[in-house]
Structure formats: C-alpha cells, structure tokens
Symmetry: C2
Subunit: 307 residues, 2 copies
C-alpha cells in the first residue's frame, strides 16, 4: 500500500502494453497502475534495483529458471507462487532456499483473488517463515486497511495448502462442468481439506495450518468463486474440452494442472491415500473421462471417513 | 428414494395447491411430486398413518408446538430442522427427546440445498444419533444413488453445526450485500468454523464433528451458494433492507435470524468468544449498522487466532 515497485515480466510485449496503458488490461482490466510502479524489461536490472524486498510471482513451471537470478540476494524474498516442483517435490520457498541461500524466504498465501485485492475488497492472507521475525517484517510491509496479513511459522504447511487446493479446485470445477451442484462441491471441499492435511502432515507440515486462511480459506474461495482460474479450468475439462484446446486459449495454464502430477507423485511415494488428487491426476494425465472419475470419487466416499 | 410418503403442512391452502399441481411450485418449482406421496391436512391423521419413520421439517420457531403431537410416538423420528430454542438452549432433537421420550430421535443434516436434492444432484449428508444402530437404519432408509448418507454418534455436534452455520451465512450474505467479495467470505468461513466449533465444544459436542459434512460442508455451501436462504437474507440486510420488509416478503424468515439470538445467549452464558455471532446479533437484534458490524469484525481479526 503506497509502496514504490519495480515490475519485471517475462513477456516484454505485455510489459510494454501495461506501461503504455498504465494498467494490466489482460489480468486486471480497469485497475490503474499506481504512479510509483515502474516497468523494467531487464530481469537483472529489476533485481538490482534498491528495494526492501523482492516478490516472486512466476508460474511454478518457470520458477526455478527465473529465481536463479537471485543466487546472491540477501534481502527478503517473498514467494506468492503456489506449486510443487515435480522432480524435487519442493515448494517454491524450498526452491528459493536452494537457489538463494542468503535470502530471507517468506511465503505469502491465502484467499486473495487478484481482482478483489486490486479493488480494495477486504482480504486476509498469511506471511509464513520459520523465522517469525522475518514473517512479521513482511506483515508490516504488506498490511493495509483492506489487506490484512497474519503470520505463521509453518511455511511448508502454508505453501502446501495453497498448492494442493488448486487440485481440489479442479475437481470442483469438473463438478460444475458436469452439471453437478453446490451440494456436491461442499462434500468435495469437506473431503478435500482432509486429504490436503493428510498429505501435508506426511510431508512435515502442521495439521492446524490446513484449518487456516492458507488452507481452508483458500480452498473454499478457489472451489466456489466464479473468478478462480483453477476451478474454471476444471469446469472446461468437465464440459469435455481437451487440455490442448484450453492451453491454446489461455496465457498460462492453471497451476493445479502441474500440481496434480507433483502431488500424485508425492502421495504415491509416501503411501498417502489421496482419492481426489488421484482422480484429478487420472483425468488430466491418464485420459480418464471426467464423468467416470467423479463417479469413482462419489462411490469411493463410502469407504473414506468423513465425520 | 421410491418411498411412499404422507405429507402434512401447516398451511392447508398451500398443501391443497401442491396436491392440485402435484408439485410444490413455491419452493421446488418444476419438480413433480412422486406418485406415492399423499398430502394430509390433518396433523393427527398424518402422524397416525402407518410408516417406518417420521420426518419433522417444521421451522424451529413452530417446532415445539407441532412436535407435541408425537408424545406417544415410539417410531424413529428424524429432524431436519436447524435451530436452537431460545428459552431452553436445546437443539431440535433435544426438544423431540423431551416431548417424545419413546421415539428414536435422529438428526439428518449436511450440505443439501433442497432444489439440488430434488433434481438428483449428488448430495452427501449425515444421520446422527447416540444410538448408532438407529442412525444406520435411517442411513439405509434414505441412501440412494445420488443421496449418500453417512452416520455419526455426535448428534449434538451435527445439529449445532447445522444451526450455527446459518448465523455465519448471514454474515457472509451481509458481506455480499455490502459489495465485499469472495476473499472476505473465505476469511469469514475460516473464522466461522473455528467459532462454531468453540461454542459447540463448550456445549458438549465433539470438535471433529465440525470438520465434517454437517459442519464445514454445510457452512461452505450456505456461505457461497446463490441458493442459500440464510445468505440471501444477510445480503438483503447488507443492502440496507429492514427485517420487517424482508419478513413481509418471504413465507418464513431464515432460520439464522432466531438462531443468532439463541447462539448469542448461549455464548454469553458459557463465556465463549464468538465475534461473528456477536456482530450478527448486533445487526439483527440491536440495530447496529451492517457496515459498522463488518468493520468491527474485520478489525477484530487481528486479535483472533487464525492459523
């Protein structure tokens, strides 16, 4: 709020368009860019600019490549990217810690649809770092009258909540696409949070974290909001559209798509039962029909403890 | 599914209209009444009709009056009403147990918007009784291909989840009415379930029950669905409509309205911290402005543990 910002983006054409319009018409139409925000086409120059902190908001699939430039960084680096790297099983803060050992790595996550944040609609999120004083400094930096930041020491739990919820949201979208209703989605959310927590705890996260803003909070908004990209992606899948066709019509694919693969892989490795992740993985990566996957999921409910 | 049913309703005119149209055009327009369903204008005759079980679906404010007719009933009696009696602090099964000591009292609750159930959209709910074999017999009676029934021994927890979620849903609706967005509602749901659980546990319910279909599941659908009456009631309040005007334009007022009063009263008595219930109570019963109440609620967030 009121901070100056140097903004780099991979798509230089788009960056120029944003600069000309002083607005991001592709993602946040109608929201003027604050006067103190400067667009910088050189990544090295953007990183070298004096700043209190760096924010990394690159999709998970390009994250490692871009974050490599931070190797000598000793400032706070804040990841807002929600994903799990397939090869390593690392969350984005894990990737950052490996690449930039001198940086203070913080995750910022929670129910925060970008358009609502931009429009000043009350939003609450979590800044997470094992170093709580670092999380608190990010809290101070980002807190504002309509953007409230809480802190957590469970960085892994906060990140896993944000990443895994996208997979459940794809399943929720598939429900929508198949013409199912809110009752079905509510049952899915209820089971989804249990499954996210089970996998998260097996990976070393704290169970309670999944009941918070970055877990349950983000899950509900992503499963129910019309604005959620992962839900919308699932809806198109549920309607029978192919991934290739969706991919060709969107600037970047929903994060839940690669995350389904990473999460499924991790769950197999750790022998954790993850029925929702399994079915989403089967739809996206094994060619299973959405209707059949949802049928298995609903049928499977009988054998999964719910209450 | 496929059961015969004798249906009594307080509004004899409406009952006759349903019989003539063989459909409930007021609440479930377009859904034909199953052929085996018979309308019965006499409550005594309806209760006396031979049946495997009785279902009580009377609003909480008229519940005790109507349920009085069951005093000598020894069959399973299933309550689908979500409320807390103000004078006694009892849930509807508590009221039933007092009035009909010979009956087998079961609560049936969960995310189950009536129109979706009627349209055969997959729905999952919970049948709850301290007598699990009784809950299981209700499970068998109601289970169907698109209506899945789980069981729980924590009847009080299941009922409190269903009742208290309506109060949180009113707050969610107020958010909508004030023009807030899904981020705000997600934060509210996250805090709401904590508050519901805290009050429920103080009243003797099990904490885990609130994480299930009848707690979290019902809360999410009621806060996010366009079809939820309690959310819609809150939305009208948030837009500035008076309770009198809402009351005059709807057949029966949303259950969250009386429940806010009962829950607030219980929380005071037990000294449980319930910020959301307090603010909804202040809006509905103390004349506080919705905008001011939501401001207090968002501001208060800082002092309430979230993660």
């Amino acid at each position: 709020v009121g901070h100056d910002l140097v903004l780099w983006g991979r798509d230089t054409e788009h960056l120029r368009a944003v600069d000309r319009a002083r607005a991001n018409e592709r993602y946040l139409p109608g929201i003027p860019l604050p006067p103190g925000w400067r667009l910088e086409p050189s990544l090295a120059a953007a990183v070298a600019a004096p700043a209190d902190a760096l924010v990394v908001a690159v999709p998970s699939r390009g994250f490692r490549d871009v974050a490599g430039v931070l190797s000598t960084c000793v400032r706070p680096v804040i990841s807002v990217t929600k994903g799990i790297e397939y090869d390593t099983g690392l969350t984005m803060c894990g990737v950052l810690r490996g690449l930039a050992p001198g940086a203070g790595v913080v995750a910022l996550s929670g129910p925060s649809l970008a358009m609502e944040v931009a429009r000043g609609i009350p939003t609450a999120v979590v800044a997470a770092s094992p170093d709580l004083s670092l999380a608190q400094s990010v809290q101070t930096l980002f807190n504002g009258p309509t953007f409230r930041v809480y802190t957590s020491a469970d960085q892994l739990g906060v990140e896993l909540g944000g990443a895994l919820k996208n997979v459940v949201a794809i399943a929720a979208g598939v429900c929508d696409g198949l013409g199912f209703g809110d009752n079905s989605k509510a049952a899915l959310v209820t089971r989804g949070i249990v499954e996210m927590r089970r996998l998260g705890v097996a990976l070393g996260a704290r169970a309670e974290t999944f009941a918070g803003l970055s877990g349950l909070g983000d899950l509900t908004v992503t499963c129910f909001s019309r604005q959620s990209r992962n839900r919308a992606f699932g809806e198109r899948i549920g309607r029978g559209e192919s991934i290739a066709s969706i991919e060709s019509s969107t600037a970047s694919i929903a994060e839940g798509y690669p995350t389904a693969k990473s999460a499924w892989h991790l769950a197999r490795r750790l022998a954790v039962e993850t029925p929702i992740i399994d079915e989403v993985h089967a739809i996206l990566h094994e060619g299973k029909s959405p209707a059949e996957a949802l049928r298995s999921l609903m049928g499977r409910g009988a054998r999964v403890e719910l209450d």
